[in-house]
Symmetry: C2
Subunit: 117 residues, 2 copies
Amino acid sequence: MLQYQEPLDLVFQALADPARRGMVERLCRGPASVSDLAEPLAMSLSAVVQHLQVLETSGLVRSVKIGRVRTCRMEPKALRGIEDWVARRRATWERRLDCLGEFLAAQSEKSSTRRKS
Amino acid sequence: MLQYQEPLDLVFQALADPARRGMVERLCRGPASVSDLAEPLAMSLSAVVQHLQVLETSGLVRSVKIGRVRTCRMEPKALRGIEDWVARRRATWERRLDCLGEFLAAQSEKSSTRRKS
């Protein structure tokens, strides 16, 4: 059964593998051929192509084949998606800590007023 | 075969599911019981517990059982891990664009000097 997956699912899934994260790291430094991407990895070229397909499906990478060389490039927009998601969670978390801080400050002020009166 | 997985693999994997991301969103607003987490999700309690185990293994969430109630809390340190990873990629990417900009500016200066002479 084909299951619909949200774009964020695919990006997080693509980055859950150290080889694919390595490929993303390499592509952030500039475009590269499939052989360039394969060079530091201890795996077959067909395994690299499979990882590349996962990255392309997630929207993190796109590639163009000219002649016999496939050149891959980063699509930083997809990375921004997860950056935004995490930033929103952090904002919620920090707002919660602020509220907790204000609550505790108010509580301690109340109890010191009570002690004085 | 048991395969060693890097902490980042587990965090990205944990967040590659919309139900688990929903649970993280909820826990960023404050601690919650398993039933609280299950409430908005259209799935069985045992499925929720399985998702919770994935979140706990990744280090994003921890839970404590007191009496019959298991209370879950966020561990924001694990989120910071992926935030840092993405920020480092963005820095590499932006440095590359700066270099490219400088290169193009130098090229256009060279060609305008050539035209003038």
